[in-house]
């Protein structure tokens, strides 16, 4: 970013050694005598020398750059994942290139194609607009990649929470509170996690022999406030609405709050609501939201660890990781009266 920077040659000259001696010192190879090393370090400091990462990458064919292809960084859940990925990456001496899809399939495609180039060593994908196309591309182009939280595939490595189990736990929680008319609201099922959460919901109902089944699927890719608001309004128009609602995301749950309030009803007195994610807002909502917590930090750390193994051409013993969810009970669910 600055002006003409000093090079290894300059350092070598000042220290009175050869260039590769400087290289060895910079790379911490202890093949250099202490006195020589000291001279080199002194020269480095005097010149304020910084190794050129581009030239280094040119030789090593590694950039230590990771692509982070994320559906929408403004989504509270995805931003938490992005933050955790960045932190894990930083700890390992890598940097992340932010590739924000913003729900735009053509941009996703463009980013994907670039990922096959030499700029990044590997790719983390958090959600995907066009799942099938993404998986195909990754396989044909042999891109080193790990999927997070939505895209499982038998061939591409992935890390995710156990969505089926989590949805089962959430639904069962409301059943345990005496509810029998439990609805599910979710965003588009084009995301695999949508299908999985729905499956967990249905399974819990089946396990308890409940006949009432009611699912409202929004077209939203974002699973956001608006989607939850709209879906809840649809439920409230039912002849006899549910007494509990399991939302596939916290954002949808909070959107549902508003629809319920506008209908003159209260959470949880009239309708219990349970979310999914445990985003920061959950505990500050009124009432505080009962939800399923995803282990985001663990997910990200595992994904990065997996990716770095793949980059190093190691064979990880397991490439499909499923992490456990956790039920967080707050004030938005109550016993059926």
């Amino acid at each position: 970013v600055a002006g003409k920077a000093p090079t290894m040659r300059d350092v070598a000259q000042l220290a009175g050694v050869s260039i590769q001696t400087v290289s060895y010192v910079v790379n911490g190879k202890d093949v250099i005598s202490a006195t020589t090393r000291a001279r080199v370090i002194e020269a480095i400091e005097q010149l304020n020398y910084r190794r050129d990462p581009i030239a280094r990458s040119m030789r090593t064919k590694q950039t230590r750059l990771i692509g982070l292809l994320v559906l929408d960084i403004t989504n509270p859940v995805l931003s938490v994942i992005a933050s955790a990925v960045e932190a894990a990456t930083f700890d390992q001496g890598y940097k992340v290139i932010l590739q924000n899809v913003g729900m735009d399939a053509s941009r996703e495609k463009e980013y994907l194609i670039e990922s096959a180039g030499s700029l990044i060593d590997g790719l983390i994908i958090v959600n995907s607009v066009d799942r099938q196309a993404t998986l195909e591309f990754l396989e044909t182009e042999q891109v080193t990649a790990v999927l997070i939280d939505c895209l499982s595939s038998t061939t591409v490595p992935s890390v995710a929470v156990d969505n089926v189990k989590a949805a089962h736990i959430a639904t069962s929680h409301t059943i345990a509170l005496g509810h029998r008319r439990i609805a599910h609201i979710t965003g588009t099922l084009s995301l695999l996690m949508g299908q999985q959460r729905q499956q967990g919901y249905l399974q819990a109902l089946a396990d308890h022999n409940l006949a009432y089944e009611r699912i409202v699927v929004s077209k939203s890719e974002r699973w956001d406030y608006q989607a939850g608001y709209d879906a809840m309004n649809e439920l409230l128009r039912d002849h006899s609405p549910p007494t509990a609602v399991f939302a596939a995301s916290d954002q949808m749950a909070i959107g549902a709050y508003q629809a319920i309030a506008k209908a003159g009803l209260r959470v949880p007195e009239d309708i219990s609501v349970i979310g999914f994610d445990d985003m920061e807002l959950a505990q500050f909502a009124v009432p505080a939201l009962t939800t399923i917590r995803q282990p985001f930090t663990e997910i990200a750390a595992n994904a990065i660890s997996l990716l770095l193994q793949l980059i190093a051409a190691e064979k990880p013993e397991r490439t499909q990781l499923i992490l456990p969810p956790k039920l967080i009970i707050r004030q938005s669910t109550a016993e059926l009266k």
Copy 2:
């Protein structure tokens, strides 16, 4: 990311031309005859050739990489700015390296130092933990950088909303509704925007000759739900609490909602609340939040445009841009009864 990739040499060989002919074609220099160009393009497609960006950067001394140093990507406001920056960058053929500080001054420092290296062409900074240190570093190291939204300085280029005016508008709105006891809650004043918003608040009170002044400053760098919740609780302990509250962020406003609800009071019947930012949640809160909208897309686009001019060594006519805020009236503010 893939295996051994074809190089320009391979393309040249297949097309039966020299390497630099290929280079000219790839770079769209129209110095090449149509027939030759066609042959080259055919060879490129046949080999699935992609230019190596690292080798290119090595020669051109430009990486087309922008650093995005952001205080906390999980903050809803900062994630919106990050998203807008990424979009503007993408449109210009640049990519962004995500440098998430996560409120950690030592990481901020590390990232800053790396920014002085050759990996990025320029730096966008969104908030800063240690403002003084950041400004000093940028100046002594001559880093090409643009600040967003908090860090104005006479020497370093910056883009921000007019915080003083915005706070003045917000406060005046509650005054126009008849309120006389208007409090201000804010996060740490180490961020310049905190000082500016406070200034706008005080000025509005002075302009209307109101004697009541009440400011609660949280220690929080995050200006988040918790900070708003805590600050509001403090206000509610006052001998005679305010009838209106101007929060320096929407998150703090939503946090205040919870404190008000827990005290058995209602928004806006008992206390009017106005926020700052217009984050997505604002319109889905119950009640929907009156707030100040920041023109995030414009801010980001201007910042990138400014940065690219600086990278191109052009002299922008203005390097300190201040954009206008907009009052968004919803349901959280009401006339004093």
